[in-house]
Symmetry: C2
Subunit: 273 residues, 2 copies
């Protein structure tokens, strides 16, 4: 386990934004988080959220995020516009666009809020799982760049093109954390929330051209709780409900090692055949 | 069972939009679909989707929809701007804003696509349930206006303030359809997808001030299949995963009577205490 200074972590380099004018930021794609075509979607989602996190007018903390991947992002610079379209005393709605070469590549909406303590109950308990230390880490050498930034330890539903197995379900259960370790924050949680392999790979145990079209995340946590989680493994579960005519969905959840539900997330994913 | 001509159905009156200029529409709130404060969220979501459905530049059919309820909608006129921000050969991304009195009241994103037949599999099967005809219809007289537009038949997890019961779960299973009947289409499915009572009402069997902040829908269907479903009951299931400090989430699904998964949807909901 290697701890690195947060600011020098490849993740922080990748989501780094420079404010240019009101509501405008400039960023750059990161080779470390490259996927097959363009960046890993989770790093794009985290970068968009980061624009809100570092915006001087932000109030509260993120409660929900939706990202729509409208077109490819090419290697190089991009701009992000983040506009607080409606701000009340304790809530704030944002719309965002990531542009490159004059085209909208990604759109997003973010909702932030100041939360107070209320009647609370976690209805979705964490599934039981062996400890991450007792499980083998997924080898990522020779696979797509961004995978190497994560330590994946599958309980069930892994996918390794070199070792396909029989599968009748798209369900995966696994431990995940940044590699090297990084203290969890909202952008980090966002990226991990999109780090599940496409469910079709798991179900069919083969590569199929696929890409997320839209993802939504609900943050059931706050920065104090995230600081307590720090760089511990998160338990993740993901499943597809319906795969039909070019699009399948994914429902997924991330719990802290102590079983606290931190994130629920869904996405709809294009696939070719 | 009363069939009415689609165009004269209160639902079609409520989602009616008049195009004014490029990407601009004018609408009006409907008394029939009024909720406690402003319109029933499902009718607002359906109206936003309707702007895309009747936009002359639309290609394909809706695959995903996210609606953010940013502020109250008052009784009266509103405008909707629907912009196709990125169109490719077979996909189209939209951003929308509903404005009233110079303020953004609602934002939305829609993704449409032309779909082709591919390897398909429905992993989430419909729960077993008694027939709707064997169940009692929920009385809606004296309750909020919009409820009367739906025929709800609960299998489990109902909520009637006059008859609270002991509950340890937020889960509901019920049959739902428009009342009077109406042939299903994308706007109709959207509204039904937001017709579940706030999960906290079900769980705690009491009214708590609550309102949806953001909802996301994935359409696992097409207009041909919706026409086949027509005005039959849909089976709906909804559950909260996490209720914590002013916000709870809801995961919900709608199946056709034959068990086809038509919609998966999530939302994050504000509650006061």
């Amino acid at each position: 386990m290697t701890e690195v200074n947060v600011s020098s972590h490849a993740f922080d380099q990748a989501i780094r934004l420079v404010p240019t004018e009101l509501n405008q930021f400039r960023g750059h794609t990161s080779e470390s988080y490259a996927n097959m075509v363009g960046p890993f979607g989770g790093i794009t989602a985290a970068t968009l959220l980061n624009a809100v996190m570092q915006h001087p007018e932000r109030i509260g903390e993120p409660v929900s995020l939706t990202v729509n991947f409208a077109g490819p992002i090419e290697t190089g610079e991009f701009t992000i516009e983040a506009v607080p379209v409606r701000t009340n005393r304790s809530t704030q709605h944002w719309t965002l666009q990531l542009r490159q070469n004059g085209l909208v590549a990604t759109t997003a909406t973010v909702f932030c809020a100041l939360r107070r303590e209320t009647w609370s109950e976690q209805e979705l308990k964490a599934p039981s799982a062996p400890t991450p230390e007792s499980l083998e880490q997924l080898p990522t050498e020779g696979r797509r760049g961004w995978l190497g930034n994560y330590d994946f330890r599958f309980v069930t539903g892994g996918y390794d093109p070199a070792r396909p197995y029989e599968s009748s379900s798209s369900r995966s259960l696994l431990w995940i954390r940044d590699q090297p370790c990084r203290a969890l924050d909202f952008p980090g949680l966002t990226a991990i929330g999109d780090s599940f392999f496409p469910r079709l790979f798991t179900r069919r145990q083969q590569f199929v051209p696929a890409g997320t079209v839209s993802l939504t995340m609900y943050f059931h946590t706050d920065s104090t709780q995230l600081a307590q989680v720090s760089d511990a493994y998160l338990l993740g579960e993901a499943v597809a409900n319906q795969t039909r005519n070019n699009y399948f969905d994914q429902s997924a959840y991330l719990w802290s090692r102590e079983g606290k539900l931190l994130l629920s997330t869904t996405q709809i994913v294009y696939y070719k055949e």
